[in-house]
Amino acid sequence: MSDAIRRAVLLVVVIAVIVGVGLADAGRGGGGGSPAGPGGSSASADGVGHNDAESSAWFCTGGTGAGGNAKPTLVLTNPTPRAVTGTVTTTAAATGGQASGGARSIPVTVPRYDQAAVDPAPGVSGGGLASTVVFDGGGVGVSQVVTGPLGYSVAPCASRTAGNWYFADGSTAGNDTLSLSLFNPGRTTSVVDVSFVTPTNGLLAPPAYQGVDIPGGSLVFENVGDHVRNASDVATVVTTLSGTVVAAELQSAGQPGNGGPSVVLGAPQPSPAWSFAQNMDVTGADTMFHLFNPTGERARVTLTIGLQQGAAEPLAISVPAMSVSVLDAGRVTRIPSNTPFSATFSSRGGPGIVVSRSLSSVAGSPAPQVGEVAGVPGGSDRWLVPATNDPATSVSALAVVDMSAAAVTVRLAEVSATGPVVVAGFGERRLRPGIPLVVRPGPGTASGTASATGPVIGGEPLVVMATGPVAVACDAAPVGNAGVVVFPALRLP
């Protein structure tokens, strides 16, 4: 090989490798931050632990003691083939934000394929309550039903603590009361900053809410209205300086018969996508979506509306940094009245957002209630729908919406005493992106493009299985009324 040839070969090889790998490296972009591990980090805090987990825990807060607006009942749903034991430890908060200093522990056993309801604090009155449910294993989901003079509300409990919590909406206007529960279930004292964002005042950081010490195992239950007065749209940001907490809000609105309590678990982090599978803009009610952008960057959000007849034209919404945008569904002409629809908010490529929905149904309307519900961030292919635990409440509909870009297949199983049983006649339903599947109770009642033979929804826990990420919501309402209290299902591993 002559020198000239060798030289040429070498130069070509060297340049090709350097340039080639350089292009590949540039294509992969910067390293970014360290990836999450197996557990990952999710915008949702409502995941059920693996069946074979050594232990799992749920944290329920937002409720109050007897005599309050939201006496909690913990609903423990075990879709696994083994009984799971655990302990429910409840802490009560004293007023004024001071930890109560006491805790009660109740051993519990959740039978296989069954559901148990636990009163976490029998005989405890007033103030806020927080419960920690520790199971000697995984697979059990816990949700919380609160009842009071204003009505009831259902919300999932948190399966993990977090350093940040976000709430897109709340109201201290009029007779509305908004309470913030900050529960530290661990052993490390957490230090928390709380700030609020309102459309009129922007970011508020009340000094009393800065550097709040929350010792391990204690609960701080604060009335937001003491510091943010008469604000109808209050977004809340909870940031821990050290440690982690669980945060929930209890919204009490209106009067008995024309109002309702809402327990809302915060979102541990902003998410690029939020879905509300079940909505109905009924006559006489106001359906409002609150889009909270807690980041420092403007978010450009696309609202995808899924209707029975197909997808409506998406709607673009701009949410400035650290602000709340309110979308009145009744003013969106592309949403027909009295028609179920799904709403999916996407901020893909931009900063994450937090979205919640509030529904205010005045007296005389089919469902005179006021409710607040958080959306479902992201999707999951397995969901656990606990049975409602209030005999006066029924599930009016189960809604499933595809959150992926491709069609998915959905199956529905009922957790019976012998195990999950595929709902007879439901079979597999093909679900197109953005088009909601609404399954109503009772045989032969279905809506949406995918008709379904409804099981006795609400009687037994359900497991929703899909071949792709879907969001599942359940509309619970007093028997015979249109549902307005929608609660998300629990994610299954």
Partner: protein
């Protein structure tokens, strides 16, 4: 007619006199002094001078001494031969006294009552120029001439005066004085016998005067180089005559320009020979008809300067009384030390060697000196104070040095003493050449001095204090602990394991013992020493290229790449070790390839560097590096072409000795050849090379396990490079490279057994070799990889400059320079791509650190830069002026610019290593935890910042476990498998997966009290240090915060600490009768403080109290325990036993799946100890034996080889003597035919009967048996002057 003149005998000592001799004799014949007799003493001339003497000076006497014992010893013969003379006139055979010279000398002797009278010595060829008019001497014996070199005689020195020294050549000595003094010192062969005699004469009270009216012409044939000393004189310490291995190359080396400039030290471990400069150089390899060659002469070693210096010192040591000696000797030692250092630093190796030789030679003769001191004391009349008054004050050499330095500069001062000995055209010529070489040497020396200063400056803060404990820079345990861990068979790694440990523990332990337990110093040596060792390896790697510039450039670039400093800054000891080892590994594999200049093949597959091709056509010749067995190539500079020497010796695996590149280049071809000749042949064989590389790989791997992968990378890079650069021809070299790499790996594997076996015993153990997967987010980018800047240093565009410089040989290089530049680049490319790929997780579990993987790339870049320099010298002159010349300039500028980042980084004094590490930040653990017994700490971090080694939890997260706080450096070799501690990793995985909220409960049985999550290289302290971040996966902190039984106590400063309050002590006792709390029944409720809720509690963990606190890593602990169950939370449970006063207590149970439980019946003092294994002892013994064998083969066998070969030669010599001539006849002067072969024997035996001596001999001295008979006299008989 009777005369009143005192009888004078002129004693002319001669040996192989030259053409000047008749003229000298005629001068004596013309003397006007009437009572002058002439005695010619011939000291073993090859040709009998009797005929010449008879012709020119018929009245003279001639005595053939038959052997040359030096001027002094020969002249002393006059004492036994002459009676009745009043004076002796001792003359060389190259002096021609003026007709009245003897007359004036004798007259002055009487007039001045002088014992010694010196004439005015003038130049032989130009009598108008002065040589000497007496000489002065300082207290150290240094002689100072009274005339300037070449000074014209205007009568300015014509006054008679006392002098201290009458210079040799022609000296009149009173006969009685001479007899009283015992004549000349026979130990002084040449150079200095005059000083010795005059000094003793002064002590004896005799005057020494100079009589300028007596004029004597002196040719100074010895000093002017017209006569050479015999090799037996020039050899400092006898050298075994080792014949080079047989091979096709039998060059005749050592033309003046081809010798090592200024001499060199040849150190083969047993032989220290100071090699003279060009005039006294060279092993004479003669080509013989059958291609065999033999050593004609021993390696000459001594210069005239050396002789002069040693004899000066010799005279001082024997002449001073004790008082003055004690006073003067320290001064001389200090001056000698300083002179040695300056001479070495300025490249004047010959002078440095002379100084060292003088002291060594006299030290060896200390007994003889004591005897001579007695003799001197016997005739002392003047004390030293009187004698000192005649000497110069101060140090003549120091004064001259300062004077020259002030007047002419340092360079002139360094060169000044070149004229200490000799002059004449040849000497001046040689001095000029030496000056040129010294200039080049000085440049290199200055460069090295700057480099050393920069390194010292950049490391200054680390030299005076310990390392901060970051990364792999952990505190090193005591030497005893290191050895104990190596020998005990149990390691505290994890929660304890009986897996074999790395031999590095034993090696460091031994080193620590050698340093008297100074493990702190040891750590600095093994960490900071990696940088100079790497540079040394680079210099060695590039040496065969044959260009000092290339060597300098490569080494400087290798020192200036940011890689080692980044490794140091981030506490990556494995990176530093890889940096140190890589050039050596590349060198081994390069030699295995046999590509020129590392071997005999050119890139076309033809032999290069062998004599057959070297003298052939230019094309092949040009592809051969200087000194690689070829004549200079067509592109070589004329100077280089004129002086290239050929010294290659080819064997199965070819070693190449570099010859001279050019006159100023400081070639070392002859020295390299001698080194090669002294290197055992087997070490240059394939097996020897593989063994050497294998030992290197074993050492590297034992300290940095991923080093094993390094050999694979380099092997792959060079093999691929061989194919790419040489096409099909490269397949065979590539195969050799691969074979060598594999062979070395096998050797290393064997040497590292049983540790190596444990590493490959299961897939979960390979990570010790392959490294821990770092976070992809922390992976360096392609740009950083190319710039070899993967840490805080070198993150500047200037770091690209080296790449530009390294590209030069690709565009201007040719032949083997282009070939090796290509291989260097391919090697670098392979390393770069692998680094990039592993950073992105493309190679799966194969994840050595970037610092380790990039070390071959650094070698490749540095080698390419050096080859660029070689191409500049050899290839560029062959091109017409154009862009290549411009590219060369740019490359040179780029190389200079590339140094800047590291240069700037040196300003900090610690190469960006953090000021404080995790040692201080976690020191509180030990104090807090002591009351609760021994505990463990679980460390979770990205592998780059994990203290010590560890095991993976997932990508970007690893864990390690240490005892009682921060671990020590043995954590680096934390074992191939976590063993029982694997459950700890599983628990962490569960926590990350959300599968537990009771991690504390899971860790508690393993005595893990603290969980530390490390996020930065060192604690982050605002305003003090901001170390680089290597964040663990984002889910780790939330997962730990979600644990209901862990309590976070520190959550900032770059690390987080969680406490597990339920953790058991390492040694605990569950007192008998303790009631384990049972969980509350279902449905009941209880009230408890929130912080101590029963969440996560485990009844099995309750009730244990600490006992038996032990030092970290102890294999036995003794103390009192109450009755109950004693827990030893160390694995494996079966290897531990409890010994009570009543005997050994059997292990009752295995607790928590790994810990040992012992039932103790009553309170007593017990010992929990590790039960050793006999098998382990055998394993250790075998391992030590293997290492000794390997090291013995590499080191010890060299001496064995030399002894063996010398025996063979002695035997052959004896055979040759018997065959050739038998015993020589007395007086026949026959040359022993085996003389050349028997030099080593003769000098080695020291037997006087076979001493080879010669004074002022010309040409080759050959040994001959001493002739003890009187020899031949003409006329015979004893001279008698009545």
């Amino acid at each position: 007619m009777e005369t009143l003149a005192p009888p004078v005998v002129a004693v002319i000592v001669t040996c192989d006199p030259g053409p000047w001799f008749p003229e000298a004799l005629r001068a004596f014949a013309a003397q006007e002094y009437p009572e002058l007799s002439v005695l010619v003493l011939d000291a073993g001339s090859a040709q009998d001078p009797t005929a010449i003497v008879a012709r020119e000076l018929p009245g003279a006497f001639v005595r053939l001494l038959g052997v040359n014992r030096g001027f002094g010893a020969s002249a002393n013969e006059v004492l036994s031969m002459v009676e009745g003379a009043s004076h002796f006139l001792f003359c060389h055979d190259d002096v021609a006294p003026a007709p009245d010279a003897v007359h004036f000398l004798v007259e002055e002797s009487y007039r001045s009552n002088a014992g010694v009278v010196a004439p005015k010595l003038v130049s032989w060829d130009d009598p108008g120029r002065l040589l000497h008019v007496g000489m002065a001497v300082d207290k150290g014996g240094a002689v100072v001439d009274r005339v300037e070199p070449g000074e014209v005689d205007h009568g300015q020195h014509d006054a008679v005066r006392d002098v201290f020294l009458a210079p040799g050549g022609c000296t009149l000595v009173r006969a009685d004085l001479f007899a009283e003094l015992g004549g000349f010192d026979p130990d002084i062969f040449v150079m200095g016998e005059d000083l010795d005699l005059c000094w003793r004469a002064q002590i004896a009270g005799a005057r020494v005067v100079v009589a300028p009216q007596a004029r004597v012409r002196h040719l100074e044939v010895l000093a002017s180089g017209r006569r050479q000393l015999p090799d037996s004189v020039l050899v400092d310490i006898p050298v075994q005559a080792v014949a080079p291995p047989p091979g096709p190359v039998v060059p005749d080396p050592a033309e003046p320009g081809g010798a090592e400039p200024g001499g060199d030290l040849v150190d083969d471990g047993s032989v220290a020979a100071v090699v003279a400069g060009s005039d006294a150089d060279a092993t004479r390899h003669r080509r013989e008809p059958h291609g065999r060659h033999r050593t004609k002469r021993p390696v000459p070693a001594i210069t005239l300067q050396s002789l002069q210096r040693r004899h000066e010192l010799h005279t001082v040591l024997k002449s001073y009384g004790w008082f003055h000696l004690v006073r003067v000797l320290p001064q001389l030692m200090a001056l000698a030390t300083a002179e040695y250092g300056i001479a070495r630093a300025s490249g004047h190796r010959d002078r440095a060697a002379a100084v060292a030789h003088a002291w060594r030679w006299n030290l060896v003769r200390r007994r003889a000196i004591r005897t001579e001191r007695v003799s001197v004391r016997a005739h002392r009349l003047l004390d030293d104070g009187e004698v000192r008054r005649l000497q110069l004050h101060g140090s003549a050499r120091l004064n001259a040095y300062i004077r020259r330095a002030v007047n002419q500069g340092l360079k002139a001062a360094h060169l000044g003493a070149e004229s200490d000995v000799g002059e004449g055209e040849a000497a001046r010529d040689r001095a000029h050449r030496r000056r040129l070489r010294a200039d080049a040497l000085s440049l290199r020396v200055m460069a090295w001095i700057v480099v050393v200063l920069v390194l010292l400056f950049g490391t200054r803060q680390l030299l005076g204090s310990g390392f901060p404990y970051v990364g792999q820079l952990l505190p090193m345990p005591s030497a005893g602990s290191l050895l104990h861990r190596f020998l005990s068979g149990w390691q505290p790694s994890g929660v304890g394991t009986t897996d074999p440990t790395s031999p590095a523990s034993g090696l460091l332990g031994v080193a620590g013992v050698i340093l008297f337990g100074g493990v702190g110093l040891l750590q600095k040596i093994v960490v900071l020493g990696c940088i100079p060792v790497g540079a040394w390896g680079m210099a060695r790697l590039v040496r065969p290229v044959g260009s000092p510039r290339a060597r300098l450039a490569s080494t400087l670039v290798y020192l200036a790449v940011p890689l080692p400093y980044d490794a140091l800054a981030t506490g990556r000891w494995d990176g530093l070790l890889a940096y140190a080892a890589c050039p050596w590994i590349v060198g081994f594999l390069a030699r295995a390839s046999r590509f020129a200049p590392f071997g005999s093949l050119d890139d076309a597959g033809a032999p290069a560097g062998v004599a057959g091709t070297a003298t052939g056509s230019g094309s092949d010749v040009g592809d051969t590096p200087p000194g690689n067995g070829s004549a200079p190539g067509p592109h070589m500079p004329p100077a280089a072409a004129a002086t290239t020497t050929v010294t290659t010796i080819t064997t199965a695996t070819t070693m190449t000795a570099r010859g001279a590149a050019d006159d100023t280049g400081g070639a070392t071809g002859a020295v390299a050849a001698r080194r090669a000749a002294l290197t055992p042949r087997w070490r240059r064989s394939a097996v020897g090379q593989v063994l050497g590389l294998g030992v290197l790989e074993a050492v590297l791997t034992s300290a940095a396990p991923s080093g094993a992968f390094l050999v694979v990378v380099i092997t792959a890079g060079l093999a691929v490079g061989s194919v790419v650069t040489a096409g099909r021809v490269g397949l065979r070299p590539a195969g050799r490279i691969v074979a060598a790499g594999l062979g070395a790996t096998v050797v290393a594997f064997v040497l590292l057994m049983p540790w190596s076996v444990s590493l490959v015993a299961g897939p979960d153990r390979w990570q010790a070799l392959t490294g821990l997967a770092t976070s992809h987010g922390n992976a360096p980018g392609w740009g950083a990889i190319l710039r070899l800047a993967v840490g805080p240093i070198g993150n500047t565009p200037l770091s690209w400059a080296f790449l530009a410089s390294a590209a030069l040989p690709l565009v201007i290089g040719s032949r083997w320079r282009l070939g090796w530049a290509g291989r260097a680049w391919i090697l670098a490319l392979v390393a770069w791509v692998l680094t990039w790929a592993t950073g992105h997780g493309w190679l799966g579990a194969l994840t050595p650190s970037a610092e380790v993987l990039l070390a071959p790339a650094a070698v490749g870049v540095a080698l390419a830069v050096g080859l660029g320099a070689a191409s500049f010298e050899s290839d560029l002159p062959g091109y017409n002026f154009g862009w290549r010349q411009a590219a060369t300039v740019l490359a040179a500028v780029a190389a200079a610019v590339g140094v800047l980042p590291v240069l700037l980084a040196s300003s900090g004094g610690r190469w960006d290593l953090p000021l404080t590490g995790y040692g201080q930040a976690t020191a509180w653990m030990g104090t807090r935890g002591a009351a609760a017994g021994n505990f463990r700490v679980l460390w979770l971090a990205d592998p780059r910042v994990l203290p010590g080694g560890g095991w993976p939890v997932g990508t970007g997260l690893a864990y390690s476990i240490s005892e009682d706080g921060l671990g020590d450096s043995t954590e680096i070799w934390s074992g191939s498998s976590p063993g029982a501690a694997a459950a700890v990793g599983d628990a962490v995985r569960s926590a990350r997966a959300g599968s537990t909220v009771r991690l504390g409960g899971l860790l508690a049985p393993y005595a893990i009290r603290y969980v530390v999550v490390v996020e930065t290289l060192a604690p982050s302290i605002p305003g003090f240090q901001s170390p680089p971040q290597y964040l663990p996966p984002t889910d780790v902190e939330p997962a730990l915060l979600s644990q209901l039984d862990l309590r976070q106590i520190i959550g900032q400063g770059g690390f987080e600490v969680f406490v597990d309050d339920a953790a058991l002590p390492e040694h605990a006792v569950l007192v008998r009768g303790h009631k384990t709390p049972s969980p509350a029944p279902s449905g009941s409720s209880s009230s408890s403080p929130p912080g101590s809720a029963v969440i996560g509690s485990d009844s099995a963990l309750a009730g244990w109290t600490p006992v038996l606190t032990a030092p970290r890593g102890a294999t036995a602990v003794t103390g009192p325990v109450p009755a109950g169950t004693v827990l030893a939370a160390v694995a494996p449970s079966s290897s531990w036993e409890l010994v009570a006063p009543g005997g050994r207590v059997e292990r009752s149970t295995t607790r928590f799946g790994y810990a040992a439980g012992f039932d103790v019946a009553r309170p007593e003092v017990v010992t929990v100890r590790y039960r050793g294994s006999a098998v382990h002892g055998l394993e250790i013994a075998a391992e030590v034996l293997l290492w000794l064998v390997a090291l013995g083969l590499l080191v010890g066998r060299r001496r064995a080889w030399a002894l063996w070969s010398s025996r063979i030669r002695r035997r052959a010599a004896r055979r040759a003597r018997r065959v050739v001539s038998g015993p020589p006849a007395p007086g026949d002067g026959a040359v022993d035919g085996a003389g050349a072969e028997t030099v080593g024997d003769d000098t080695e035996t020291g037997d006087g009967s076979t001493d080879v001596t010669g004074a002022e001999t010309n040409g080759e001295a050959v040994p001959r048996p001493s002739d003890t008979s009187p020899g031949t006299t003409v006329p015979s008989g004893t001279l008698s002057h009545e």
